[in-house]
């Protein structure tokens, strides 16, 4: 019930800037949580000055362990995130984490990392971890975004990617269509890909998971559910896996083996 250590820490805002009309980046100083955070884990944050009640879950987009900095990338979706976007440098944010179980790293071959929408956030840390911390083959990275106004992600991952591919819904950059459409070509170009890790909308993950399972490529998916607690006590986030076992997205996930979710 209590596998990884977690804590609550007040993190001061180091910077909070706009990446696009509806997406912001936030850097918080919270060295203790950062020192424990692994790729694919998440945090629950609360702006104690704000008007919302529950904490809000966000994937760990990246960490700077030397400086104790945490990067979150968030879509201004509703009340809490819109209030968050108003906050300036120095404002305190209560951060709880690191939470959940992140991606696993077996590292036999090359990894294809796929992100859709703000699901791209945790891909950043995962890419850096594969390329720098583990010094393995650089991952191939595939991002599915709406249009050419969402290419800001490149800045965060360029250095860690063997190759960075975009698909856009409207064809305004890269290949027109969904992320999954780009996969066959990528697999042809990189036959050493042995693992796929995906974070994005459910429909996208489902399609990719089915493709990976069919091709015998190990695939992990990162799920999203409404959460009240984030550490396994409210039971707001549970689901039944293909094995019949009940899982908590917050504690057993958010990363799951694709077979257990979509198999």
């Amino acid at each position: 019930m209590n596998e990884t250590q977690k804590l609550v820490e007040i993190g001061n805002i180091v910077s909070n800037w706009e990446l696009s009309a509806d997406v912001n980046a936030l850097v918080l100083e919270c060295p203790e949580i950062v020192s424990l955070a692994e790729p694919g884990q998440f945090v629950m944050i609360k702006n104690e000055m704000g008007s919302t009640y529950l904490r809000r879950p966000f994937g760990v987009a990246d960490v700077d362990k030397d400086q104790g900095l945490l990067l979150l990338i968030y879509r201004k979706a509703g009340k809490g995130t819109k209030e968050l976007a108003q906050l300036e440098e120095g404002a305190p944010i209560s951060v709880e984490g690191p939470l959940g179980r992140g991606f696993s790293f077996k590292n036999e071959g090359r990894t294809l990392l796929i992100g859709g929408g703000v699901g791209i956030a945790p891909i950043i840390y995962t890419a850096r971890h594969l390329a720098k911390d583990l010094e393995g083959p650089k991952p191939v990275i595939l991002f599915g975004v709406r249009n050419h106004k969402e290419l800001f992600w490149s800045d965060f991952v360029e250095n860690f990617a063997e190759k960075l591919v975009y698909t856009t819904d409207d064809g305004s950059y890269g290949r027109k269509g969904f992320a999954i459409d780009a996969i066959p070509d990528i697999l042809k170009d990189y036959p050493d890909i042995s693992h796929i890790k995906v974070c994005g909308p459910t429909v996208m993950m489902k399609g990719i998971a089915e493709l990976a399972i069919k091709q015998g490529i190990e695939c992990e998916v990162s799920l999203e559910k409404r959460m009240a607690c984030g550490f396994g006590v409210c039971l707001g986030c549970t689901f039944e896996g293909k094995s019949g076992k009940r899982w908590k997205v917050c504690g057993d996930g958010p990363v799951f083996d694709a077979e257990e979710v979509f198999g």
């Binding site: 019930m1 609550v8 904490r55 607690c229 409210c234 707001g236 009940r246």
Partner: protein
């Protein structure tokens, strides 16, 4: 924290502080061990247990509301047998010094008796009878809104256990004192109030209810004034001790409940937001007692000045 000021005997359950973790918001207690010292938790109250495992409700189960939340978990739990076999021993090992109260419900009067008997084991310090879950038919709400049925359940439970029996009341009734009196007369050792208030949120983009179960139970700071009022009314109706809960986030909130007539309190949804809340509230009560030159928390109970 000064234990001599806070230690409380609640209907025979010995607790180091009068502040507990409320059912359904505190897991089985041990999930909180990273955030607080379990020795300083008055009592762990378990997630609602049922005779058989329950998967809970489909669809969205959580919605934020102004100063609170709605939930329709639907009593997801592993069932009484798995609890007794796997969970209770683990809890007793990791939190040996904390009082443990098992919360449970059933779908018939007989169910309640069977559950009470199964829970009459070492390691369980008291039992809390949930006749008030608004989210499932089997959650006992039918027993929680009819005084005769509530009395029948209470009698059945009392006949099957030697543990102190706390009956948890629903606020979804016209007159909660009628329920309180019925349950007291049937032999309850203590009362807990309030459970959640039935509520609903509609998504105006889809014109559909936000929650999978259509309705859910409201809790959090939004419900506190209602809960304090109900504790006040019930305290003037019954002689058995009361656990007050509903919207407690701070020591100040808890003290209101004590003044209204509760001798203990429980923290619910606030645990999700600030997972050290149970201990912080106890510490705050202790500080208040010191500042007011009071030697024990019981000196606050029911002391609200009217007129």
């Amino acid at each position: 924290m000064n234990i001599t000021r806070l230690a409380t005997d609640f209907a025979g359950i010995k607790m180091t502080t009068p502040v507990m973790g409320a059912s359904g918001t505190f897991g089985f207690g041990v999930e909180y061990s990273d955030f607080l010292d379990l020795d300083q938790v008055g009592a762990i109250i378990s997630k609602g247990l049922t005779p058989l495992p329950r998967a809970g409700n489909e669809g969205v189960r959580i919605a934020e509301t102004p100063s609170g939340m709605l939930n329709c978990i639907g009593l997801e739990n592993p069932g009484i047998d798995v609890f007794l076999r796997d969970i209770l021993p683990k809890v007793r090992k990791e939190a040996p010094n904390t009082a443990f109260i098992a919360n449970f419900s059933g779908s018939s009067v007989e169910d309640y008796g069977i559950m009470a008997e199964k829970l009459d084991v070492d390691g369980v310090d008291g039992i809390e009878v949930n006749i008030s879950c608004p989210n499932v038919k089997e959650g006992g709400i039918v027993f929680g809104t009819d005084p005769k049925a509530a009395a029948a359940v209470t009698k059945e439970v009392k006949a099957h256990t030697k543990k102190p029996v706390i009956v948890k009341l629903s606020p979804n009734v016209t007159d909660i004192t009628v329920m309180a009196r019925a349950v007291e007369e049937a032999g309850a050792d203590a009362l807990a109030l309030i459970n959640t208030l039935t509520g609903m949120v509609i998504d105006i983009n889809t014109w559909k209810p936000l929650l999978g179960n259509v309705t859910g139970g409201l809790s959090g700071p939004a419900v506190k004034p209602i809960a304090v009022r109900m504790v006040y009314q019930v305290a003037h109706t019954v002689k058995i001790p009361i656990m007050g809960l509903g919207g407690i986030a701070t020591a100040e909130d808890a003290i209101e409940f004590l003044l209204a007539g509760a001798s203990t309190v429980a923290v619910g949804a606030e645990n999700f937001v600030h997972p050290d809340a149970v201990v912080r509230v106890a510490e705050g009560i202790d500080k208040y007692l010191e500042e007011h030159n009071l030697s024990h928390v019981s000196e606050l109970v029911g002391k609200v000045k009217i007129g």
